[in-house]
Amino acid sequence: MKEIVRAVIAIIVVCILLFVANDFLNKSSGKAGSDTVTIFNWGEYIDPDLIAQFEKESGYRVVYETFDSNEAMMTKIEQGGTSYDIAVPSEYAIEKMKENDLLLPIDHSKIPNFKNIDPYFLDLSFDPKNKYSIPYFWGTVGIVFNPSLLDGQTFESWETLWDPSLKGQVLLVDSAREVIGMGLNSLGYSLNSTDESELQEASAKLKMLTPNVKAIIGDEVTQLMINEEAAVALTWSGQAADMMWENEELDYAVPEEGSNLWFDNMVIPKTAANLEGAHAFINFMLDAEVAAQNADYVGYSTPNIAATELMDEEVTSDERFYPSEEIRDNLEVYNNLGLKMLGKYNELFLEFKMGTN
């Protein structure tokens, strides 16, 4: 009995010491006070050197956290708990966050670098006048492929994915909207379709793809394509750029039937505790040199016109990653389909996944 009491006391003492130490450390680095900026971003979506540079220039301390889907990010912001000052949702998520009153309006007077952004990416339907959001990166959904493992297919059409010679060679992303959208696009339908018969048709079409599917995974796609474990993958343009940087054999194409055009934007969520810092960070990221360095590192396409002027001409004139406006007009932006429809998409996707074995 005595030993137990002694052990319990020892544990309590250690806990108190740890608590005090933690408190002390947080104070000296200023956690959750007015001198930190908490950023909630996608994984591998910023050059870490820039965070250090921002800390040095502004005097704020940055707390950086990542998420892997818009939905997970929204759930976390809705629950509160962490005072995120900046988040980077995609366009349909911004629409939804606006609906749910999760965003704070942005004070444009504090963001002089806003002028650097290509007007093409401003005042879009999901956020008129950019009241709540500032463009961060944009890109497309397409196919990354390894010509050395193929017999000359070039993926001008989604149809090529169904080519019987690609048996067990295709990687897909584990995301309902991308995969079902691809099925809809391949039939010439809109990837925002809510029509029951179109969705059924797309799902039937996808079922025929199953012999070619090697796996349906997340960010692991990058490593598998670099290592030439698979010949073809459905992926986002920036991820493709990452892969092509590591393995020069790889190529990227956006099929002609159409695909998804997306925008990721910086927003200030309701949870923000440091508005001053949030605006300072947005303004910093829009600086031409910073944006150019970031785009170089991340590999996605930057909407920052001043930055593209500083970047390598070879990159910014690459139609695969900076498609002309003409091609862009053929692409579609995701609409917020509502939870019911999203559930429908996911159920079809679940059925598809179960059929792949």
Partner: protein
């Protein structure tokens, strides 16, 4: 020595724990399972569960959980038996337990490299002229990795049961003319069946709701109830449907616990369990 008062005092932590972390969550899950997306009370989630998608899903989860448990048992029982016969059994046991302290995700990622087309296994096959095989993203790799991860939980209870077995019982069986097989099937196995049952519980139940390995190792070609729950909560944000699947998962677990549960003392321990 213990008065009634101190006894109730000791019960307080237990009851607080049970109420806060067992009863309350199950209650909440059941509560949520009766609401649809717009927050209306409904039985639709339950009706939906009995649609073909979720029934197939349940069946396939059970099938894979069954395979994982079966292979774990086939490997674990002889291993545990051999362990009890070795000289430094605690050391050997420790060597089996240590890998289970390493983070699950880390071990899983390691297998992506090991099973890859250019990984060591395929390099080994190449030496024998077999050529590269697709190992990753197959049923085989999924079951292999799951068994690898769960096997310590199967070995431990069986080892404990075998270790407690009185060796003179085996000698007696031999003396009375029983063959090795008869000794095993009539003496050793019935006396250690509780260890086997505990192992089955520890492996089968978590196997039903595996979700990360299904993506990383099986490339989402194997879907379990766990994957479906994760999707309903994180992607679809249909907490009602996610809760409904969770409720069924709990029901399945209870059923398995009852089937493999340890009966009253004496019923199984003397071998007359027919």
């Amino acid at each position: 020595m213990q008065t009634k008062n101190t006894k109730t005092l000791y019960l307080i932590p237990y009851f607080t724990w049970i109420v806060l972390f067992v009863i309350a969550p199950i209650g909440l899950i059941t509560y949520y399972s009766f609401f649809d997306l717009s927050g209306n009370f409904t039985f639709d989630n339950y009706r939906n569960f009995f649609s073909s998608v979720y029934l197939t899903l349940t069946l396939s989860s059970f099938w894979y959980a069954f395979l994982i448990t079966l292979f774990s048992l086939i490997i674990a029982y002889p291993t545990a038996y051999w362990l009890t016969k070795t000289k430094h059994k605690q050391l050997w046991l420790l060597l089996i337990i240590i890998p289970s302290w390493i983070n699950l995700l880390l071990k899983t990622y390691a297998f992506i490299g090991i099973f890859g087309l250019y990984g060591p296994i395929n390099a080994f096959l190449n030496v024998f002229g077999i050529g590269e095989q697709q190992i990753l993203f197959t049923d085989f790799s999924f079951i292999f990795v799951s068994v690898y991860i769960f096997i310590p939980f199967m070995i431990l209870p069986i080892f404990n049961a075998l270790d407690k077995l009185n060796p003179s019982l085996i000698d007696a069986s031999r003396d009375l003319g029983a063959s090795s097989w008869t000794t095993f099937s009539k003496v050793i196995f019935p006396l250690t069946v509780n260890g086997v049952k505990a192992g089955i519980q520890a492996v089968f139940i978590p196997s039903l709701s595996l979700f990360m390995i299904t993506r990383l190792i099986a490339g989402n070609k194997v879907i379990t109830l766990g994957t479906a729950i994760e999707q309903q909560f994180l992607v679809t944000q249909n907490w009602g449907m996610g809760s409904t699947i969770a409720v069924f998962l709990i029901i399945f677990m209870v059923i398995i616990m009852i089937i493999t549960g340890q009966r009253e003392k004496g019923a199984t321990s003397n071998g007359k369990n027919k």
